[in-house]
Amino acid sequence: MKYIASEIGFVTKMLSWAVILHVRRWQRYRADVALWISSIWLTILAQGIFIFSAYSASGGNFFGYSFDDVVVFFAITLLSTGLAQIVVHGFTLRLADAVWRGDFDFWVVQPVHLFLRVLLEDIGLVWFWPHVIIGGGLLVWILPLSHVWLALLVAVIAAIIEIGLIICVCVPAIQWGRWNPNEGLWEYLERSRSIPLGRTKNMLLIVLSAGVLQYSLALEVFTGRLHLALFFALAIVIVTIAWFCMRYFVRKYTSASS
C-alpha cells in the first residue's frame, strides 16, 4: 500500500513537472505563442462556421444526424484532437529529436517510465489547449449533465486511440530520428481532418477519413449505435500494439550518435 502511494505520488509529481516546465518554456517564445493561439482560435471558428453551413445546406438532415449530434461530434473531435495533439506534438517531435541528437541516451537510463519522461519535454499543450477548452466547454454547455460524462469519456477514449495510432505509425520514423511533421503517413491522415464527418458511403472519403475514424466511432457510441465496451476494447487493442511498438523501439535503440 505504501509502495502504491509512493508511486502515485511520483507520477503526480512528474505530471506537475510536465505542466511547470511547459509553462516555464513559454517565456522563450511569447510572441510565437500569441500568434499561434490566435490562429488556432480562428481555425476553430472557421470549422464551426463550416459545420453550421453544411448542416443548414443539408436541410436539417446531415447524413441522418440531428443538429445536436453534429455539434456534439464537433465538440468531441475538438476535445479529442486537443488531448491527442498535446501528446502527439511532444511525442513525435521531441522523441525523434532526442533520438537524433542522442539525448535519448540519458532518457533510457533515468529511473522513470519513458511515457512519463516524454511528457516532461515540450508537449503540445501550448498549441492545442484552445481545442480542449472549446471542445470540453461545448459539451458541458449543450448537453444535460447526465450525458456530459459519456461525451467526455468517449472523447478521451478517441484521443487514446489517436495517440496509439500515432505511436504505431511513427515509431519506425522516430527510431531513426527522422520524423518530420510535414511529411509521412500521418500527415496524409491528418489531411482527412478537413472532412468533418467520416460516415459516408463514398469509398474515397472512407479512405481519407481514416484519421477521423475514431471520432466517428465516438459519435456512434454517444448516439447508442455502438457499444461503449467495443469502443473501449478497440482502444485497448491499439494501445497494446503501441506499447509493443514502443518496447521494440527502446530494445532496438542503438544510440546512433556517439
Binding site: F10, K13, M14, W17, L21, R24, R25, Q27, R28, R101, G102, D103, D105, F106, V108, V109, Q110, P111, V112, L120, R251, Y253, T254, S255, S257, S258
Partner: protein, 356 residues
C-alpha cells in the same frame, strides 16, 4: 570485496548496410541491401573495484564509448556479460538507474531553454532525493564549481565550460555509486579543464565513487586516474597503472646538461657507459642531451652530476601525447609488428609478466 564493475568477454556488433554510388544503386537498395557487420567491441574482460578512478583510453572507433554505453545500460551486448553493482545494466532496473550517472561531453541533459536550477530541481524528483538533502548537495556542488552566478541563466546562454560544470552537478545530485564520464573536457579551455580535474579528484576521494572516464585527452587521465585501460580495435590491450604505461611506452627519460667546459674524450666515453648506448647527442659545445633508461635514472643522474662538468641539469617532462600515440599502437595481434619498436615489444612482454 565484490567488484563494482565486472566485464566478461563483452562483445558488441553493429549491422550496417553499404551505400553504393549512383541512382540505380539507391533504387536497388530499396529492394535489397548489402549488409556488413562491424565488430565494435571484441571480447573485453576486466573488473573494477569500488572507489577506483579508471581511465578508458583509445583512438577514435576503438570501442570505448560503445563499452561505456553497454556498462551504463544504453546498449545491449551482442555476446558476453557485464555487471555493474550486481545489476545487469541493459535490464535498466530502477535501482540500477538510481545508482549510476552518465555525463557525455557532446550531449546535454540540461533543459536547453531553462536555467540550470530547473534541471537540478527536476532531477531531485526524478531520482526521489529528499528536498533537504538536495538543497545541501546543490549548495555544496555549486560552491565547489563556482557556478552560483549562472544558476538563473538559461542553459543556451552558458559557455561550454559553465554548461559542463552544470552537467556534472546534475549527474551528482543523486549521489551515484558509479559515474561514467565520456569525454567531459572536450572543447574546454585549460583553466576550465583544470578546475574540473581538481573538482573530480576531490569529489572522488571524498565520496569514494567509482568513476570511469573516457577521453582523448591524456592530461585528463594523467591528472585523475589511478588505473588505465587502453582499448584499440575493440580489444583491451593494456590494463595497469599510468606509471607502468609511461614506462612501457617511454622507457627512457631525456635530460639536458649545461656544461661549463667541453667534454674530454674520457668523459665522452663515461657518458657512453652511463647511458648504456641508449644515446646522447651534443647539439652545442656546452650542451649535452642524453637518453637514460627509467629503471636506473636516479643513479645515472647522480653519476653525471658527480663525474661531468655540469652547470645545470633539466629533465624533460613526460610527453603524454607520445605515450598516447604509442599506447594506441598496442594491439599485439592486429597491429603490424614492424610498427612496434623491438625494445617496446620486449618491455610489453616483461610488464605483462610482472603484472601476471
Amino acid at each position: 570485496m565484490h567488484p563494482a564493475i565486472q566485464v566478461r568477454d563483452l562483445q558488441r556488433d553493429f549491422r550496417l548496410y553499404r551505400k553504393e554510388e549512383g541512382l540505380l544503386a539507391a533504387l536497388r537498395s530499396v529492394i535489397s541491401r548489402r549488409w556488413e557487420t562491424v565488430h565494435a567491441v571484441k571480447g573485453i574482460n576486466f573488473s573494477i573495484q569500488p572507489g577506483e578512478f579508471v581511465g578508458f583510453l583509445g583512438p577514435n572507433g576503438a570501442g570505448k564509448t560503445t563499452t561505456l554505453k553497454m556498462l551504463s545500460g544504453i546498449l545491449s551486448p551482442t555476446k558476453g556479460n557485464c555487471r555493474v553493482l550486481g545489476h545487469e545494466p541493459f535490464k535498466r532496473e530502477r535501482a540500477f538507474c538510481r545508482a549510476i550517472s552518465l555525463v557525455m561531453g557532446q550531449k546535454t541533459q540540461l533543459i536547453w531553454d531553462l536555467p540550470p536550477i530547473d534541471t537540478f530541481a527536476l532531477h531531485r524528483d526524478l531520482y526521489r532525493v529528499p528536498h533537504k538533502e538536495w538543497k545541501q548537495k546543490v549548495d555544496t556542488l555549486v560552491e565547489l564549481l563556482n557556478v552560483r552566478h549562472i544558476l538563473q541563466t538559461p542553459v543556451r546562454q552558458l559557455s561550454l565550460g559553465e554548461r559542463m560544470k552544470c552537467e556534472i552537478i546534475v549527474s551528482l545530485i543523486h549521489a551515484p555509486k558509479v559515474l561514467f564520464l565520456d569525454e567531459p573536457t572536450i572543447g574546454l579551455d585549460v583553466i576550465s579543464q583544470r578546475h574540473l580535474w581538481d573538482f573530480l579528484r576531490d569529489y572522488q576521494r571524498k565520496e569514494e565513487t567509482t568513476i570511469i572516464l573516457t577521453s582523448h585527452n591524456m592530461q585528463d587521465i594523467a591528472h585523475l586516474c589511478s588505473r588505465v585501460l587502453v582499448v584499440n580495435l575493440g580489444k583491451l590491450v593494456y590494463d595497469g597503472t599510468l606509471d607502468q604505461l609511461v614506462e612501457l611506452t617511454q622507457p627512457k627519460k631525456e635530460v639536458s646538461l649545461q656544461l661549463h667546459r667541453p667534454l674530454s674524450e674520457e668523459e665522452k666515453f663515461m657518458l657512453d657507459v652511463m647511458t648504456r648506448e641508449s644515446g646522447w647527442t651534443q647539439p652545442e659545445k656546452f650542451c649535452v642531451r642524453a637518453q637514460i633508461p627509467r629503471e636506473n635514472f636516479s643513479s645515472v643522474v647522480r653519476e653525471m652530476l658527480h663525474k661531468l662538468p655540469v652547470d645545470d641539469l633539466s629533465v624533460q617532462e613526460v610527453d603524454f601525447s607520445l605515450v598516447m600515440k604509442e599506447s594506441f599502437l598496442m594491439t599485439p595481434e592486429e597491429v603490424p609488428v614492424r610498427r612496434m619498436k623491438s625494445g617496446f615489444k620486449k618491455r610489453l612482454g616483461e610488464i605483462t609478466r610482472e603484472r601476471d
